[in-house]
Symmetry: C2
Subunit: 613 residues, 2 copies
């Protein structure tokens, strides 16, 4: 392909809102242009790489037997009302009315559409397992789209869905997807961190996120230090991360030696910091007690303290029903923080928030700052497992300006429930191997997830098993963001002069730059290009009448893996030579004209083999 017939509008300037490398380089290299906030168009050069990433995803999906489909992008609201997501998705769901005033959505994911199609065709266990996927346009009405295609409103996602007769079958497909995802990212040249989104310590593996390290990542990752040596694989999203409980080592004896608890005057001392200063001690000797308001609680609260008046809505089969909201006291060691995602999961609540000052006063009979577990009757008490090891603690005394000291868990108070609800931090210990944990910021590129019966239940999907009995299939879902994957490749592979594409996703493998595309130089260039092209190597010929410096800068910016410069000089030598440079390396080398094609073909095929192995 001749550069002069291409449409590669490279830029020196970058848009003011391009704050990350991939955003800047995708604009400067002429890969994308912005049509509106969060809406981008891929230009021809960008689309070449985009399609290669798509194709890698497609090949790996096909390799594990997933079947490609193409549902419409505009989908009827009815399906989303069936699944309940019409209400649950909020404003990020782009809704549209057609000329007949019917409701539709622009699809952000497609659990409903795939499930609706499968529902109509599924009759027998013999059709299971079934895995279907699409690579298609999606839309999420992000409040603040930014970082270019990394967080756009319209994007392309590969989303796969699978249906199964049992857990084992689901797990097989889930594991196969996990392996396929690792291959996909490897083939794109990406270092991903597979992160168990739920606690690996609990033995579960119903969800795994594939993260790339990124300063602008919106996920905090908790990683095990011994991982770098390949000894331990623990990696988790901070939202779900667990750690080894660091129990007091003096155990029960210590508690036996603790004096009875007693009330102390603590005038105007409300925060942990004030208390530390007042008592001249450290935060970890306190039990911090917080009052939370939880929404849509699915725990059975019928015998929980202070919950006698609560009524659960819509109790259904096997479920205690849902409480619209309920208050809880949550106790944790003073140096730790409550992880609200973990707390919500423990309470089976859709959301938890700190209670208002008024609610705290009403429920603890004391001003904010003096809540404590001892003598608390008005609320169910949830304690973090860190509290169970505290043998001589300070707590609020449920009265203004008063605390208790010498408080012992089990002796002076009992918990309604003990849970792991602490926020894991760098320095905490790995729940698997006990090594120190550290943190990184990460961006999610992919996610595999065991959905279970959420959609098959709500959308009435069933089949007949071997015995002719009606059964409901279980489901998995598996997504990869194509745009974000492409942008992440640039984040990982660039230098100060531009992109450095891995050969596997490079828009072209080789750029041939004749100093002047004419005469002998032209002959040599054309011959080289013919040989390369015949072997499936994709070549961009820079036939423009620009200065060499301009051509070199553009070649570096658009990141073509190999550059061949053909000048009069090299050709005048006894052995005619061309200059070959790997974009990854600083130095070029001179190669005999006769050998250049063969050498390039070999190098590129070897590199491709490594990516695809």
């Amino acid at each position: 392909m001749n550069y002069s017939h291409q449409f590669i509008p490279t830029l020196r300037e970058v848009p003011a809102d391009a704050v990350i490398v991939s955003h800047r380089l995708m604009f400067r290299a002429g890969l994308v242009r912005k049509l509106a906030n969060g809406l981008f168009g891929y230009l021809p050069l960008g689309l070449r790489t985009f399609r290669k990433v798509e194709q890698i995803v497609r090949e790996e999906m096909n390799a594990i037997g997933a079947l490609e489909m193409k549902p419409p992008v505009i989908q009827p609201a009815e399906l989303w009302k069936e699944s309940g997501r019409w209400d649950a998705m909020g404003e990020s769901l782009l809704r549209v009315k057609n000329r007949l005033d019917n409701d539709f959505i622009v699809t952000p994911t497609a659990e409903e559409a795939f499930t609706a199609i499968v529902r109509d065709e599924l009759s027998s266990y013999r059709q299971l397992p079934l895995a279907l996927y699409q690579i298609n346009t999606k839309y999420r009405d992000e409040i603040r789209p930014r970082y270019g295609v990394m967080r756009g409103r319209e994007f392309t996602m590969k989303d796969a869905y699978s249906w199964h007769a049992n857990e084992e079958s689901l797990d097989n497909t889930y594991q196969a997807m996990g392996r396929a995802y690792r291959r996909i990212f490897k083939r794109c040249g990406l270092s991903v961190i597979p992160v168990k989104a739920d606690s690996g310590a609990m033995g579960g593996s119903g969800s795994e996120e594939f993260m790339v390290e990124s300063d602008i990542g919106d996920n905090t990752l908790i990683l095990c230090n011994s991982q770098t040596q390949g000894l331990c694989e623990y990696a988790a999203n901070v939202e779900k991360a667990a750690c080894k409980a660091d129990f007091s080592c003096d155990g029960d004896n210590a508690a036996a030696n603790t004096p009875n608890y007693e009330k102390i005057d603590t005038p105007n001392v409300r925060t942990i910091e004030e208390l530390c200063a007042f008592l001249k001690t450290e935060p970890k000797t306190f039990i911090k007690t917080l009052i939370y308001r939880a929404v849509n609680v699915e725990l059975d609260l019928s015998s929980a303290p202070g919950c006698g008046d609560l009524k659960a809505n819509k109790p259904s089969q096997g479920s205690p029903g849902v409480y619209a909201h309920a208050f809880f006291a949550v106790a944790i060691r003073g140096d730790l923080d409550v992880n609200e995602v973990k707390l919500a999961a423990a309470l089976k609540a859709s959301e938890v928030t700190l209670a208002s000052d008024l609610d705290v006063q009403r429920l603890t009979n004391a001003p904010v700052g003096f809540a404590g577990p001892v003598g608390l009757q008005t609320l169910p008490l949830i304690i973090d497992q860190s509290v169970t090891a505290m043998t001589n603690a300070v707590t609020g005394a449920l009265a203004k300006d008063a605390h208790y000291k010498h408080v012992v868990y089990g002796r002076d108070f009992e918990a309604w429930k003990i849970e792991d609800i602490r926020t894991v931090k760098a320095g905490d210990l790995c729940p698997l191997c006990g090594c120190e944990l550290y943190t990184k910021m990460g961006n999610e590129l992919g996610h595999i997830f065991k959905l279970g019966y959420k959609y098959t239940n709500s959308m009435n999907v069933s089949y007949l098993d071997e015995n002719g009995k009606t059964q409901i299939p279980t489901m998995g879902c598996y997504g990869i963001g194509v745009d974000r994957t492409m942008a992440s490749v640039i984040e990982e592979h660039h230098d100060e002069t531009g992109i450095i594409w891995p050969v596997s996703v490079a828009p072209y493998h080789v750029i041939v730059i004749p100093i002047k595309y004419d005469g002998v130089v032209k002959e040599v260039a054309d011959k080289l290009i013919n040989e390369l092209t015949a072997s499936g190597i994709e070549v961009l010929l820079d036939d423009r009448s620009e200065r060499p410096g301009v051509k070199f800068n553009d070649a570096d910016l658009i990141g073509i893996p190999y550059r061949v410069v053909i000048g009069d000089k090299g050709l005048g030598l006894v052995t005619a030579q061309v200059e070959v440079k790997n974009r990854k390396e600083k130095e070029s080398c001179m190669v005999d004209v006769d050998k250049a094609a063969k050498e390039l073909i070999q190098k590129i095929q070897e590199e491709l083999k490594i990516y695809n192995s």
Copy 2:
């Protein structure tokens, strides 16, 4: 690919709304499913053919140097307001508001988006010509979607746009597109009728539609009878079709011999039929005069009869301005019909409709049925060229129950404008060769069109020419409906048992049906499939434990070009044999096992070569 791992839900029943063959067969063969009215999902088998059609389109676009891009599907309304189509498109444009209450559209075509991107990057004549395209999701909010994917609301279209420094360059690309379109349809196995959408007789060729013959087509095509012998190429959409004017052969002499016109009493005679009965003559002796109301008229009416009070809006450079609406008298020979598309084009109006009875009475001073050209002062008179040859005509007399006879054009009345505005019918004469014309119903699969300066003007696109002078580029646009092309292949290639795919777009080339996939039969099947696959032949193995009859029916229904049946019987012969059947033929033949793969590969490659030649 094993059939048992596929998702091919074939059906005996068809949905009640499936009235055309392709709709019925696409459902029955498990190619598509309906998610809502006009919204379809392609199932895996259907998507395989869909992607092949897409790929043929892509290859032919790339072959003529068009560059693929991918703008977003959701586009900002601002661009559509710039071009004027936000208002002009009406309710077929699907509009959507995001969470910030900003207006967007789901794109039906993308002149605006492509032009906006090119506008920002185009600076020099050296960048021209430039042709860009996408193959992407589109949406048109059809009032009555029907015929399956043939007229859906969401669909996939290849749309290309080109920009040029001059007419000649535009014409080069336009001609190349025309040739590419012919190749695309040929490669898909389709017989298309390229139809000049404007009059070929006028020498212009700024628009060409690619039609397939179809009983449910929404276009009437006018074709020249000598076309079947390759003598004349005239083919036109009836909306634009011209014909040879059939002038009266007695010419001026006849007019000179006509007596002066005189009023006759015609009590309650209002229609041509009543008049024929009353005067015992034929319709072609009458001049029919109709009153039309035209909207957004861009003709200069400043000196037209009866238009003195009209005011043109927004007169701009080189334009007489636009009249919101105006009335016209339109006269045509009594046996002919006015073609309102041609009339609107002649009046440069966006729409023409017959005036209301009240308007007719007000403007002609007579009840409906008595309008006529003689003495008409209140309206501009447009006459069809057929009227200019009438030398002794009957017309309405602009008074109740009265007509004139012996009316002669030029002697008794003059026209404000003479135009070709008749509807061409079967039996009229070809404007090119004079042979008889005939009609067919057709469906439009593609359209190429010289847009000119409409978008580059309204959206302020410019570049600097060789002399550094600012110029506005001219534009072309070129569309193909992918879904409709695929459905049309089925319309052309099927029989009573199912689809008969051309090998070029077949989801698989060969279906191998072992009578029982086990033992020797399995060995023979696997070996055959390996040999075929190694040569790039795509094979579906029907490994299901169904009765042979079920397998044969499904194979016929889904239309795989070659069927190989492997049974115990054939293998027991001295020379082991398999049964090979071409889907197009009634009879199968027995082929030696050893030769089957080679023979099939040869046949399929030959067929592919013919499609692609």
